[in-house]
Subunit: 334 residues, 2 copies
Amino acid sequence: MARLEDIAVAVGVTATTVANALKGRGNVSDATRMRIIECAQELGYRPNELARSLVQGKTFTLGFLLPTIANPFYPEIAEAIERTASEHGYQMLLCNSFYDFARGRQHLERLVNRWVDGVIVMGSSIDPADILAQFQRGFPIVLCDWQENEIAIQMPQVSVDFRMAGALAAQHLIALGHRHMAIIFDEPQQSLRFEGFRDTLLEADLALPEAMIQVGHSTLESGYNAAQKLIESPTRPTAIFATTDWMALGAMQAVQNAGLQVPQDISIIGLDDITVSAHIRPPLTTIAIPKVQLAFEATELLFRLIKGTPEPPLSRLIQPSLIVRQSTTVPPDI
Amino acid sequence: MARLEDIAVAVGVTATTVANALKGRGNVSDATRMRIIECAQELGYRPNELARSLVQGKTFTLGFLLPTIANPFYPEIAEAIERTASEHGYQMLLCNSFYDFARGRQHLERLVNRWVDGVIVMGSSIDPADILAQFQRGFPIVLCDWQENEIAIQMPQVSVDFRMAGALAAQHLIALGHRHMAIIFDEPQQSLRFEGFRDTLLEADLALPEAMIQVGHSTLESGYNAAQKLIESPTRPTAIFATTDWMALGAMQAVQNAGLQVPQDISIIGLDDITVSAHIRPPLTTIAIPKVQLAFEATELLFRLIKGTPEPPLSRLIQPSLIVRQSTTVPPDI
DNA sequence: GTGAAAGCGCTAACAA
DNA sequence: TTGTTAGCGCTTTCAC
């Protein structure tokens, strides 16, 4: 591969001049500039970004650490981050932790070692302590989609008002007339969604019995299994709130496979608003998370962090919203 | 950030010795090794991978260029590539081209400039000529999920027998008794799927009239629109083959929104077998592409390329398979 | 078992 | 307008 030096000797100048000419710094005569550019073309010169990064201490690269891109909640976010990064001249390293903290930690350390300019970390992908350690050394990190209370210390983050999300789900079902509801959620990462839901029920004097609380693990299958238990319960609920759409899809399938109708027999409401949710049968009522906005704001915040000590606020709580489709309706007569 | 040199002066040795001690090369006494390791701990030493890469000419990083991670066909592949890469000590740069060749080219050039060790390129993400240019300079690239005939020159690639995929779809529908079928596909990237379908019909003396050939653009919406046109056609088909599941979902929705039943009124068959396909209503019959295998083989092939001139074969054609679910059945009586 | 020296390809500060 | 010098932090070769 051709280097600056190669061009320099070919043209009969010095590497510095070549560098200046190539990046259009003013101090090169037009004549030599022409010859240099031409020669660079001929030799197929490509600047070595490694060398450049080493001396500048900047890589124009950022890391994106998440549980797994195979979960349909993340691709939209990843896309938005990458696009925003790209507009700033950045590329993005995608790192799946597979919900394994050791793996998340390894990835983060590697990212630090390779001098990425900053990292966006999604919830559930790594032990908060590991993030904190790097952040406190001055490494730019922004948290995305974590529960606000998950990290001990104040850190830059953009997240969603999950308690509100849970509340919205409850309000919707209550308004429809439901009295016997159930929830499927992942503990402890989704406890806020649970609390918002439960508390809203409580305020309406509605109980949420133990048997109506099922844990899932953000997979479709776990939603399916959890819903099965709920259906078989002696006190079958008339509505189910699954704290992710992915689990809601599983739940819906379980209900339908049991020979019941959604929403006539059991209403189902999700949370996330992943793309497919609008296109299944029946279309899923859900609490939407503005994923693109989430990603965009996280990335912009990270860039502010990278540029220097930014003005507050360093954290942002985004409001979810209810999207009523056809998987929820009034409870059946009994 | 602490450097080798910092440890060296602290311990009273030289940087070379520190380096040797840290990577367990034999020639350091146990005593000094202990002191060095301890000191490295204390100073929080992290090797600078940039510097290391610059001298070694290796970055242990690979690029993954694709149209857009938001299309649900890709996340599973991305995950598998990243996992395989990770097992080899590699990280992965994710690059969306958004079906824009200029953008794809920019990304590829940047990847080359930053000395990634190799790149995996998915179909439809960049102009083949740009790939070829880099490949011919000796840069390791493997093509993934391209039509075999899309690239002029023989290049390393792992792909799917798309003609067979189209044939399988046709065979299935014919076996069910369909005589009036339609296809929705994206031209020209999916022409092989089309040809396989059409030719199989022809062999069974079945025509595929112009009106029954619709173009889509790999989006759900385009599948929806294409299906609408088919439904409104005076010669409504009894079965639709959409060459991606994503378009098939759109088509299914269009059919259902028109008040028709899938599969009783119209059978629908897709191609890809994305995760959700098994979980919608009705579950989608489809031609499955072994995505994880595709990704794994592409990555392994790339590593062979990176290690040096590998043994043939440098290209692999993976066989698709029919998965019968409930979106296809015998045609309605007329 | 340890060190000195050179160099990866580039940038940046300062001279000429 | 152009050149010189000194690194960035590491690895590698060879000498002691």
